[in-house]
């Protein structure tokens, strides 16, 4: 725990994180402002967090925000850091991190496909990855209705009801 606090202190002395949190034994979560994310990621990479495990997105529909979560892993001390930041939901745009973590390219395509976030500077961010010929709202947004989409697009099986209980009969 002491070691984890040292990491947090170190980050606080260099950046202005909005919030820090020890999630569990070897996991730290830090919320940054949009401008600081790239320098924080570059700094953490130089400190040993060399692996970007995943970049994902959370839809906070009531706040009207998307939260981008970069999860970094350090193989020397097995400590995971979540770098989080919130962006505007109506016009979701963020600068790419492929110059820091080249592997982020696929994750950015994924987030673009499922949430509609645009990553400026990633030349391929609009290429489709899983959803071929998608023609609706990005499906992981909370205002997307999968049941309605499924009904509209795919035919469902109709079942014949061949037993209708009369009055007084057990169902």
């Amino acid at each position: 725990m002491n070691f984890m606090n040292n990491i947090i202190e170190d980050i606080k002395s260099r950046f202005n994180p909005e919030n820090t949190e020890i999630v569990k034994k070897n996991q730290i979560a830090i919320d940054f402002k949009n401008e600081e994310v790239h320098s924080a990621l570059a700094y953490l990479k130089s400190q040993g967090w060399k692996q970007l495990t995943i970049l994902t997105c959370v839809d906070w529909i009531k706040e009207n925000k998307f939260q981008l979560v970069y999860i970094l892993m350090n193989w020397d001390n097995s400590i995971t850091i979540q770098v989080r930041t919130k962006i505007d939901r109506d016009n979701p745009k963020f600068r790419t991190v492929i110059n820091i973590y080249p592997g982020a390219e696929m994750y950015e395509r994924d987030v673009h496909e499922f949430f509609g976030v645009e990553f400026e500077g990633n030349p391929n961010h609009e290429k489709e990855l899983f959803l071929e010929l998608w023609d609706d709202l990005p499906p992981m947004r909370k205002d997307f209705d999968p049941l309605a989409y499924s009904k509209k697009k795919f035919d469902v099986r109709e079942y014949k009801v061949d037993f209708i209980p009369k009055e007084g009969e057990a169902e």
Partner: protein, 197 residues
């Protein structure tokens, strides 16, 4: 020991089974042999495929009824669709099915192929298979036990023997209808492969 008169004619009495049906002698003959050696393409699309290893290995031993797995579509007779089919996979499945030689049979496996199963409201999973491919036989269950799978395969063999498994002919006859449904769900049936472009 000599056979007596009753024992001599048995089993393959194909010509006299039904004189009025439209199958010729050689078609019936062919159907019997087809039903005894089935190569199935196990394009395992969903979790139901988990029941195939026990069906193939020593306890249930599928090979003893004359079925064996086959790796390529051009040599296979049966296309097994073992569970949920996402839109992306359906596109590949249609390609695979169209590469198979006639006669070919489709077996839908598990409730996902029947009515969508637990994925009935998913944006990516089709709700029923027989709109897109001609299904000869469904094996119900989520997931079906190996006993059910074996009995389903036995049923399929009987159907092939009697000439009832005619999905491939239906596909030729109603090709327009199938194509229309495929295009409606998929946009277009064209596999775009970024890594081999």
């Amino acid at each position: 020991m000599a056979l007596n008169e009753n024992e001599k004619i048995n089993e393959i009495d194909v010509n006299e089974l039904d004189c009025r049906d439209t199958l010729t002698f050689w078609e019936k003959f062919g159907n019997i042999f087809r039903s005894k050696s089935i190569w199935m393409l196990h394009y395992c699309t969903g979790c139901g495929a988990m029941e195939l290893p026990p069906t193939m290995t020593s306890r249930f031993d599928m090979e003893r009824i004359g079925m064996a797995p086959m790796a390529t579509p051009r040599q296979a007779d049966v296309l097994l669709i073992t569970g949920y089919l996402s839109v992306k996979t359906l596109r590949r499945i249609i390609y695979t099915y169209e590469q198979m030689q006639n006669p070919k049979y489709v077996v839908g496996f598990g409730s996902c192929t029947l009515n969508g199963g637990v994925y009935y409201d998913s944006y990516a999973v089709i709700s029923r298979l027989d709109y897109y491919l001609p299904v000869d036989l469904y094996i119900a269950g989520c997931m079906p036990r190996p006993e059910a799978v074996m009995s389903g395969f036995k049923k399929l063999m009987d159907m092939i023997k009697k000439g009832e498994a005619l999905g491939w002919k239906r596909y030729q006859k109603y090709y327009d209808w199938y194509k229309k449904n495929q295009v409606r769900a998929l946009g277009e049936v064209y596999v775009k492969d970024e890594f081999h472009e």
